[in-house]
């Protein structure tokens, strides 16, 4: 049992830290805010040029080939530098599925394009009638020669408005159990018959959408894995989504930000950071976070050999999202009256606290973290059933 860094690890840490300092410029940070798509693409291209855009991919597909420790160091430094995660739909989600289940042709076509951020991906899982009960999905794919004809609707599709491709779960067979007859398929968003309807979320932003499919023709060669075996693929992918969702490093950074801003905030002559009630709540978060970091490391260590994570990753998702929301709530509290200010075209300083807008946006959108990726209720069902053996 040992987590000490070797000299090589320390040198690697310095290299990562130096890269983020140099490459993630204030201009880029500002662009991420003003034009998220362009900013994210520019940043991911920089990471690609450095060879670091896909730390979790095997080296043969263009990944880094890092050890588990190096991945951990990278993630920690990324978060400490305030650098956002890559957009996960391509680089994390569909890429893992294609690597595990895709044909050689699919790997050769899609993986390099994902690596270079040439395609923007989105995820077509949930439907208006199928949320937690994902397997009840109804979007229909009917065989027509070499193609499938898709009809139905997907909802809560993040960034569908930008997407070039969507990976979808569709129903190819109605005859058996609902988990059977589901197929995982890749659909070009430029196909005829696709309509994207924006959904404004409670942070007043547009990142969610409904995507409608009316007689959309998709080549059968776009199916990943076997026809009718999409549920297996989906479960593996959701497990991946869950691991990333823990966001330990990002919660650590949030704790640091909380301490910085609470040190500046005064209340009747006392720093908010010195308020015992405030300190106790923050301490509770930190204690839980310290444990979660090692829960995550233990999970990573068992997965170090590669392959998909198992049902235990549900724990990371539940605890991680709870802690994210707890830190978001504390930042809102620090912002006090300013937590409610909607952005206007004014210098944030003219209004009050500069961090308040970010606090509101992450707090409001952060409500989704316990809902998406399989709601935390579903995660508890997974643990109860597959870890504890409760039926």
């Amino acid at each position: 049992m040992d987590t000490a860094y070797s000299n090589e690890d320390l040198a690697f840490r310095d290299e990562v830290r130096g890269f983020f300092e140099k490459a993630y410029t204030p201009e880029l940070r500002a662009r991420m805010r003003s034009n998220h798509k362009e900013g994210a693409e520019e940043w991911q291209r920089k990471l690609y040029e450095k060879g670091w855009v896909a730390p979790n991919w095997p080296a043969e597909f263009g990944g880094t080939g890092w050890t588990a420790t190096q991945k951990y160091i990278y993630e920690t430094e990324r978060s400490l530098a305030g650098v956002p995660n890559v957009i996960p739909f391509g680089l994390v989600m569909v890429a893992n599925v294609i690597m595990a289940y895709g044909t050689d042709e699919q790997k050769e076509y899609f993986l390099p394009r994902i690596l270079k951020s040439e395609d923007w991906w989105c995820q077509g899982y949930s439907e208006p009638g199928s949320g937690s009960d994902l397997a009840s999905l109804k979007t229909k794919a009917e065989r027509d020669g070499d193609d499938f004809i898709i009809n139905g609707a997907k909802i809560w599709t993040t960034y569908a408005q930008y997407a070039d491709w969507i990976f979808c779960l569709v129903r190819t067979d109605n005859s058996g159990k609902k988990q059977e007859g589901i197929t995982f398929i890749l659909i070009d968003m430029k196909s005829e018959g696709i309509k994207v309807n924006p959904i404004i979320s409670i942070d007043n932003h547009h990142s969610l959408n409904e995507v409608e499919f009316s007689n959309v023709r998709v080549p059968a060669k776009n199916v990943v894995g076997e026809i009718g075996k999409g549920w297996t693929v989906a479960k593996a992918l959701l497990a991946h989504e869950r691991t990333g969702i823990a966001g330990v490093a990002d919660v650590k950074r949030a704790v640091r930000v909380i301490k910085e801003v609470a040190a500046k905030e005064e209340n009747g002559g006392q720093r908010l950071l010195d308020d015992p009630g405030f300190q106790q709540r923050l301490a509770d978060i930190e204690v839980e976070l310290m444990a979660l970091e090692f829960t995550e490391l233990r999970t990573l260590a068992t997965q170090a050999a590669g392959g998909f994570p198992g049902p235990e990753s549900s724990l990371l998702k539940i605890k991680g999202t709870e802690l994210q929301q707890a830190t978001q709530e504390m930042l809102m509290e620090i912002a006090a009256y300013y937590q409610g200010v909607l952005p206007v075209d004014l210098d944030p300083d003219a209004l009050g606290h500069e961090f308040a807008t970010d606090a509101r946006l992450s707090y409001m959108y952060g409500r989704a973290a316990t809902i998406y990726g399989g709601s935390n209720e579903v995660q508890k069902n997974i643990i109860a059933k597959y870890v504890l053996g409760l039926e």
Partner: protein, 379 residues
């Protein structure tokens, strides 16, 4: 022992509930919030005609002569409809200060105009550095001839965009954080030297940051005793906190009812999600959170009605509990509505945002827990 509402109170409640149901549906409210001024002046006139604006004022000024229970009934029902017309800033804050601090002449001048819906008011008290410590005040009113000259800045002034008149908390003597030396001044919002920067809040309110640059005020702008404003402001704040708690209780009731209804109708895994015991227990928890909040509100109402001075401890406790239970209830409402709860289109998130602003107004749970400890553990 009697926790019933009087016939008159029931009539007021019904009257507001009817208005919300018939004339303030969700689309109507959305349109009002999105309109140029963010409120409906027609509604305000209607509120005056229906007598709602007269509730907390004495009969001699044309008021209803209502007590804290009457006021809480109004606030609870307005809360259920998420009514954005500025009842709280104009009647509870602005009117609350005039009725407490004003001379007989000032009361006779302002209260009938508030009751008649002719004036929209605001109380300018938050400063950039002040957080919840009202006495942390840098805005100054300096004696000049017979009157005063006002300088400084107030931020997040509720109803600051639409208010015609402001009561401003300013320092007439002493140092920045002294409890003495604060005064209340009536200021015409359109007077020379008054500058507003207006913006919207997430709960639909229009507020403003207001700067005062050498604003000349006559001697009769002074509301109450020079240098002795803080006790009056604290007394008004106690009433305002109870009023906000009543509004919060109204919102909690709506959130719980809507969420319960949703879990009875939303089907997943072939059955209504409300049939799952794990969710049933959580809805029992939110129901209990609501009942507990209501109970503490009732305790505060009883004490305050008897003698406001005895209610201090309960008022701090109430703010703590409303903060905690409010977050619990809106958190569960969003979570159990799933993706739908995340949409701006659905009202759930808007009720949540109003609860969040209620929680922070006049001090959040952390602040009032400290005040509670100071009060309750002092002996």
């Amino acid at each position: 022992m009697n926790f019933d509402f009087s016939e008159e109170q029931q009539m007021v409640r019904d009257s507001i509930a009817r208005f919300v149901q018939d004339d303030y549906d969700w689309d109507t409210r959305k349109a009002i919030v999105a309109s140029d001024h963010g409120i409906s002046r027609d509604n305000w006139k209607l509120f005056a005609e229906l007598g709602w604006l007269s509730i907390p004022f004495a009969e001699e000024h044309g008021g209803f002569g209502g007590n804290i229970v009457d006021l809480s009934v109004v606030m609870e029902e307005l809360g259920k409809g998420l009514v954005v017309e500025p009842f709280f800033p104009t009647v509870v804050l602005f009117g609350g200060l005039v009725k407490r601090a004003g001379s007989e002449a000032q009361r006779a001048e302002w209260l009938p105009r508030i009751i008649g819906g002719e004036v929209l008011g605001a109380f300018a008290y938050v400063e950039r550095q002040s957080r919840f410590a009202l006495h942390d005040c840098q805005t100054t009113a300096t004696r000049s001839g017979d009157g005063f000259v006002l300088n400084g800045e107030k931020v997040v002034v509720f109803n600051g965009e639409q208010a015609d008149h402001l009561v401003v908390l300013a320092r007439t003597s002493g140092e920045q954080s002294d409890r003495d030396g604060l005064s209340l001044l009536m200021v015409d919002a359109n007077a020379p030297g008054v500058d507003k920067m207006s913006y919207a809040m997430m709960d639909g309110q229009r507020v403003a940051n207001i700067t005062f640059s050498d604003v000349a005020l006559s001697a009769d702008a002074l509301l109450g005793e020079e240098g002795g404003a803080l006790p009056v402001v604290d007394a008004m704040t106690d009433e305002a906190i109870i009023a906000l708690a009543a509004e919060a209780v109204g919102i909690m009731a709506v959130l719980n009812a809507k969420t319960l209804e949703y879990t009875k109708t939303r089907e997943q895994f072939g059955t209504a999600i409300g049939s799952y015991q794990a969710l049933q227990h959580r809805m029992v928890d939110t129901m209990m959170a609501y009942e507990q909040s209501k109970s503490l509100l009732f305790k505060a109402l009883c004490e305050y009605k008897q003698d406001p001075a005895t209610a201090a401890e309960t008022i701090h406790a109430l703010k703590v509990l409303i903060d905690r239970n409010g977050k619990h209830i809106f958190g569960e409402a969003i979570q159990l509505h799933g993706g739908m709860g995340m949409t701006d289109e659905l009202d759930i998130g808007h009720y949540a945002k109003r609860l969040m602003m209620i929680n922070t107004t006049f001090g959040d749970g952390t602040y009032h827990r400290n005040r509670f400890i100071e009060t309750a553990f002092a002996a």
